[in-house]
Amino acid sequence: MKCVESIEMEPPPAPTGKPVRLPMGLLGFEQIKDYVLVVNPGEEPFAWLRVEDNIALAFVVIDPFVVLPEYQPDIPPADVEFLGLKSAGDALLLGIVTVHGTSQATVNLKGPVVINRHTHTGKQVIIVNATQYSVQHPLPVADNVA
């Protein structure tokens, strides 16, 4: 039997991030174009859209269909063309979440980030039917008491 001379600690798994390029940035952050989409175990349905060259900065994102199953965003033709989307299945939609303290959070349903799953290129899109939705759609945050 072999003696174990040293127990090597396995390094913590690197967060599984997928690079996402937003050539036009986000509205108000046009100069930041490179992001990493990070999903941490146990944090779903939330994910992080992390600024690639500044690890401290990130946006919390969520699949808007999880929040509002009847969400029916109408993606403008210019954006469909820009992103090279052939069908709805090509697109990954992320709603940007604003966390207002511990008991309130909202998601922007007027301007989702639409990402081509194949090219990992995305854009914050102002949907055609933006007037039907809110930039601050409330998330069903569980009571802290529960």
Partner: protein
Amino acid sequence: MLILSRKLGESIVIDGHIRVQVMRVEGDVVKLGIEAPMTVPVHRQEVYEEIQRSNQQALTKQSSPLPKLAGAAKPSAMPAKKMNLSKP
């Protein structure tokens, strides 16, 4: 800023391919008709500014705690996606 006077029904042409026409004037409301190629996005300025403000408010530190969602919003309850891709 270039300021042009237009009467009801009159238009301006931008870059040879975008036409903005005064459709109706009612008190302080002006209805504009915009003819632009599909590739030119046209939006009300307020929507842009609203999303800009929302993004600025949403920017956070990656270590920030996330809220706990109530039972309804579970990733397993992933509904069918109903997204409309307008064809160019």
